[in-house]
């Protein structure tokens, strides 16, 4: 017998947004969690991680809504002319409005992976109902030093690790040309060699999780200011990073441009050497689920203990703030 229930819900303008609400079997709560889309994966999340997360949190006493943003999964495309991020924020607010009106929820946590992490930050900034935010593999602010170190590590592994070699398109084309006589691979290889000539424009430095040249939305200083504003507001901010971009992490390397910032005294930062971008194995999922549940319990109830303390509302929120202050000092 499960200690949660699951209900499909339609909400938002013209009930165009669709989600699944996981609720604790017993009792009501004034706090709930939103679990966001990752890229264009629909509401179950990559590897069904959103389903597993929602069930864990509901079992922990936190109603959790995993839903599709406009135009993703089974939610209809918005009729507005909003840009993607602005529409995402509107949709997330609609989710909170729905839970507030239907179930009396007043405080919200939000958890997102990758693009979901960026949406989570945007929502926390835009809406004071958010009191906890966990961004997994969100924005990165790397330095040249971190990128260089990453390249050196991969170069060191190159001769001994076929998977590292195969991750380079140029290597695959080179071996396809020389090994199998592939004409297209030869053409691509020659084009790359031509691009190395000094007159050519150097390639843009790569920095995102999958090595694309996409730049963060704001610069590091603005990102720091925004996250500090959340901390000042009492939001439990947790930033987690996977092993996908870099194999190791030293001194807040994924936010290396902000090293030395007082931000790290105010928010939680954690690098996971054993979890990749979307927790591809069941073992990774187990670790991530434990971490998300612990974060959510602290953000919601002020304690990571398995039993929810009696009473909710203001006293629990105050305890939550105390626990966050203690955790931040431990992490610092």
């Amino acid at each position: 017998m499960n200690d949660y229930t699951e209900t499909p819900v339609l909400f938002g303008p013209d009930e165009g947004l669709f989600g699944m609400l996981s609720q604790p079997q017993a009792g009501r709560s004034d706090v709930a969690c939103l679990v966001l889309n990752t890229g264009v994966n629909y509401r179950i999340g990559p590897h069904r991680i959103n389903v597993k997360t929602a069930r864990r949190l509901a079992s922990a006493g936190i109603p959790t809504l995993r839903f599709d943003l406009s135009g993703i999964g089974d939610s209809v495309a918005a009729q507005s002319r909003n840009a993607f991020r602005a529409q995402a924020v509107e949709d997330m607010k609609s989710a909170m409005d729905f839970l507030g009106a239907r179930y009396g929820v007043r405080r919200f946590l939000v958890f997102g992976i990758c693009s979901g992490a960026e949406n989570a930050v945007a929502l926390a900034l835009a809406d004071a109902r958010i009191t906890g935010m966990l961004a997994f593999d969100g924005e990165m602010y790397l330095t040249r030093g971190v990128r260089l170190e990453r390249k050196l590590r991969r170069m060191a592994a190159f001769p001994f690790n076929a998977a590292v070699r195969d991750s380079y398109f140029w290597w695959r084309d080179l071996t396809d040309w020389l090994g199998a006589g592939n004409a297209a691979a030869r053409e691509r290889t020659m084009a790359r060699l031509g691009a190395l000539l000094p007159s050519r424009t150097p390639p843009v430095e790569q920095g995102s999780i999958f090595g694309s040249a996409e730049a963060p939305v704001v610069d590091a200083a603005e990102y720091e200011r925004r996250l500090l504003s959340l901390a000042d507001r009492g939001v439990d901010v947790s930033l987690m990073y996977s092993v996908t971009y870099n194999a190791t992490d030293r001194n807040h390397g994924m936010l290396a441009q902000l090293r030395g910032s007082r931000l790290f005294e105010r928010v939680k930062y954690r690098f996971w050497p054993d979890i990749d971008h979307t927790a591809t194995t069941l073992a990774m999922q187990g670790k991530l689920l434990d971490a998300v549940e612990e974060w959510a319990r602290i953000a919601a109830f002020g304690t990571s203990a398995k039993q929810q303390p009696p009473g909710g509302g203001r006293s629990a929120h105050a305890a939550s703030r105390r626990a966050r202050a203690e955790e931040a000092s431990v992490n610092a």
């Binding site: 890229g39 264009v40 590897h47 069904r48 999964g73 590590r153 998977a163 996908t244 870099n246 591809t280």
Partner: protein, 269 residues
């Protein structure tokens, strides 16, 4: 689109019913059977658009998630072929009750197609037409392919992948056998999948069979030929750009137009 939970209390299933739109209501209703694991996630958009387009043509459609998959109750490891076949039967009855249609067509892709094929014999009333897209006919090859692609996915998602993964894949036949792309596979399901062979899969009488497969898939073409003995079975060659095991990146289409059109046509023309 009406979301619903149906089935017995001990095994509730999640579904989305798309009622026929407009006045051109058809006497046919369509049940869509999804693939398993990552392939179901990857093809979700395809199934949604297929359902929307059919319903706009006046054809009611039921999409659903078998137990332990998608939005349905249950964990990954709760899924098995026999249970999923019963789930298809349950969805069949739900579709009949909701649509009132006189004629039911089933569509399935990959393992969803295989399950639909197996479940047809026990469907009542009988299934008028069965449209299968790249059914899994050789279970051991399918499992082996999942293992390889699972490791490839792991390598893609690590800055410096573990060199031992490839060795394990090559040397240990049990390595990476109980999960694929982050979806758990129970030992029972693994055994059931491994037992799938073309000879073990036979269409009963009374149902029209349409099988859509890649032009170079000789196994499926040969299997369809074998099914034509005394039955109505047809092979449709379809090349397309959907990579079942890819992530939704720009390197391949979410919903290839030619595939959607072809599947639509085979279901309802």
């Amino acid at each position: 689109m009406t979301p619903l939970m149906f089935g017995p209390p001990s095994r509730r299933l999640f579904g989305l019913f798309h009622a026929a739109e407009g006045a051109r209501a058809s006497d046919t209703a369509v049940l869509l059977c999804p693939p398993m694991g990552h392939e179901a996630l990857r093809s979700h958009r395809f199934y949604r658009l297929l359902a929307l387009r059919l319903s706009r043509r006046g054809v009611p459609v039921l999409r659903f998630d078998p137990y332990g998959t998608g939005d349905s109750p249950g964990d990954d490891e709760d899924g098995d072929m026999a249970g999923w076949r019963r789930d298809i039967g349950e969805a069949h009855r739900e579709l009949l009750a909701r649509s009132g249609a006189a004629r039911i067509v089933w569509f399935g892709a990959r393992v969803g197609a295989t399950l639909a094929l197996q479940a047809t014999a026990s469907a009542s009333p009988r299934v008028a037409r069965l449209v299968l897209w790249e059914p899994v006919l050789e279970g051991s090859a399918y499992l082996q392919d999942l293992r390889k692609k699972h490791v490839a996915e792991l390598e893609l998602s690590h800055s410096i992948p573990d060199a031992g993964w490839r060795r394990s894949l090559r040397d240990d036949p049990d390595a990476f056998g109980h999960e694929a792309f982050g979806f758990g596979i129970s030992e029972l399901l693994r055994q059931q999948l491994a037992a799938l062979t073309p000879d073990s899969l036979q269409l009963g009488s009374g149902t029209e069979l349409v099988v859509i497969a890649k032009p170079d898939d000789a196994t499926t073409r040969g299997w369809v030929t074998a099914q034509t003995q005394g039955r109505s079975a047809r092979h449709v060659a379809l090349a397309h750009s959907l990579i079942w095991t890819s992530n939704p990146h720009p390197n391949n289409e979410m919903v290839p137009a030619e595939a959607l059109q072809r599947v639509m046509a085979e279901i309802h023309e």
